[in-house]
């Protein structure tokens, strides 16, 4: 009987706290949104499942959680900590960018270089949020990592946090992916607020065809320029452009296929699951609760929403500003796509515009600031790394 009691003490039931229950419910909600609402299922589903797994309580001493490493005093590196190492070491995000690069078509951006400005403007969300985070009392490193949420690129956010503020990685990653999933709800009100009905109806002329030579030169130029300007962006931009070159070169199909498929999927599963599993409701380091259900994490979520809004705002306003100088007006809605969240925000733009002109197809035009935003926030991350490392 003693043995049974002893075993019962090790069960999750005996160690369950309210925080865990809340987080398990949160995990279930994420899975629900992923499956039923189809919000970024490739990410939210494994994240949600990870949140459940990460909040199953267990008696301390068992090496089960993502934080149970020998360095943290566990008798052994837990399996989940080994997977999580792919996140904290920062290796999964560049590998994911490799795969994304191998699947992304930059034609739109190449045919319309002006639109990179929109991708740049939306990054204002990053830096305003960085200031906001400082105001809320976060340190410089933390504020930078929180600000990058406004870049609306999951891998970039995770990469920067892993380098600057690994202790906030969980909430930052979850916030980034959550708001990316919620882009269709966040952006339209801001669009309505800033863009006049007449502007919403502006049509843009079809882009010119891009030659394969241009497509091949593009990744090489981007990596050299971006990395010379902000060397810290190398891991992200370098891998993104390597993947793209593998795709566009036409001579390494088998490599680009694997990069965009097996490798991307493996890294996506492991990264999302591990990020989810890192959200333990409460976790004590040196007596301080650094868990997920703390005011700090809530602050991050608030700042995340703020940063997405500012980024959208920045993109839209800058697009209107550009129109003051352009002979051939652009539809300012595509400025909202500059936040990245590839390809969701570009779709939101198209969907929004078609409510006012059923035959106005902006998707291709919106892809230009969309992918420029990816490069833009990678450069922003590089700047932060350069300043704070």
């Amino acid at each position: 009987m003693d043995m049974i009691l002893q075993i019962i003490e090790t069960t999750g039931f005996a160690n369950l706290q309210w925080g865990n229950v809340i987080m398990i419910v949160v995990g279930c909600v994420a899975i629900y949104l992923a499956i039923v609402k189809k919000y970024e299922p490739l990410l939210l589903l494994p994240i949600g499942f990870g949140v459940i797994v990460g909040n199953i309580p267990y008696i301390s001493g068992l090496p089960l959680g993502v934080y149970d490493t020998v360095a943290n005093g566990a008798p052994q590196n837990s399996v989940f900590s080994l997977i999580y190492y792919g996140v904290t070491s920062g290796i999964f995000p560049p590998l994911i960018f490799l795969g994304i690069g191998a699947m992304t078509d930059f034609s739109s951006l190449i045919s319309n270089p002006k639109s990179v400005l929109l991708g740049a403007a939306a990054q204002v969300g990053i830096f305003v949020t960085y200031l906001g985070a400082l105001m809320l009392g976060f340190t410089n490193l933390e504020a930078a990592s929180i600000g990058i949420i406004g870049g609306a690129d999951g891998p970039t956010s995770i990469f920067l946090s892993s380098q600057l503020a690994p202790h906030l990685l969980g909430p930052i990653a979850i916030a980034a992916y959550s708001y990316m999933a919620l882009v269709p709800l966040i952006q339209p009100p801001i669009m309505k607020l800033l863009i006049s009905e007449k502007e919403r109806r502006i049509r843009m002329k079809p882009a010119r065809r891009v030659s394969s030579r241009e497509k091949i030169l593009f990744p090489i130029i981007v990596v050299i320029v971006a990395a010379l300007i902000a060397p810290g962006s190398l891991p992200l931009v370098g891998m993104l452009m390597l993947g793209n070159l593998l795709k566009e070169s036409g001579v390494t199909d088998r490599l680009s296929k694997t990069a965009g498929n097996s490798l991307l999927n493996i890294c996506t599963i492991l990264l999302s699951f591990a990020v989810g599993a890192s959200t333990q409701a409460s976790r004590y380091v040196d007596g301080i609760n650094v868990g997920f259900l703390t005011p700090k994490a809530l602050g991050i979520f608030f700042l995340g929403l703020f940063s997405f809004s500012i980024a959208t705002f920045g993109g839209l306003v800058f697009a209107k500003f550009m129109n003051l100088f352009l002979k051939e007006k652009i539809n300012p809605l595509i400025g909202a796509a500059g936040v990245s969240a590839v390809p969701d925000s570009a779709r939101v733009v198209q969907h929004f515009a078609r409510q006012y002109d059923k035959d106005n197809y902006l998707l291709f035009h919106a892809m230009a600031p969309n992918v420029a935003g990816v490069i833009g926030s990678a450069i922003a991350a590089g700047v932060f790394i350069a300043i704070f490392r």
Partner: protein, 121 residues
């Protein structure tokens, strides 16, 4: 509140940050633009052959025009698959070869791993 920003040199960092982002992206845009100009001057008539994947499609689409819909799909898909498989085969077969992606269609008999469907001996 604001104190923390000032102490951390926040405004400077934020301003410099956004400037660098703009600088980087503008530089990229300019470089692409310049390259395009240069190439345009060098070769007055750029590739009319457009992207290589379009042509075979339209060709095969024409070929099968008079067939029924189901068969159309079957044959067209089969051809697409066929090309995919044998393109891959070409590259995969042995170690690292130079991935010469010539149109393998109609030159089927050379490679070992396929059906010798045309061999009517």
């Amino acid at each position: 509140m604001i104190d923390n920003i000032i102490q951390n040199n926040g405004f400077n960092i934020a301003l410099s940050g956004i400037i660098v982002v703009f600088a980087g992206l503008i530089l990229i845009a300019v470089t692409i633009h310049l390259f395009n100009k240069i190439f345009e001057r060098l070769h007055r008539q750029p590739e009319t052959a457009v992207s290589p994947t379009d042509n075979p499609q339209s060709v095969s689409a024409k070929k099968v025009l008079q067939l029924a819909d189901d068969e159309l799909v079957a044959i067209a898909t089969a051809i697409e698959i066929y090309r995919k498989i044998h393109f891959e085969t070409l590259q995969t077969q042995i170690t690292f070869k130079r991935g010469e992606q010539q149109p393998v269609w109609k030159s089927g008999q050379k490679y070992g791993q396929r059906l010798n469907i045309n061999k009517r001996t």
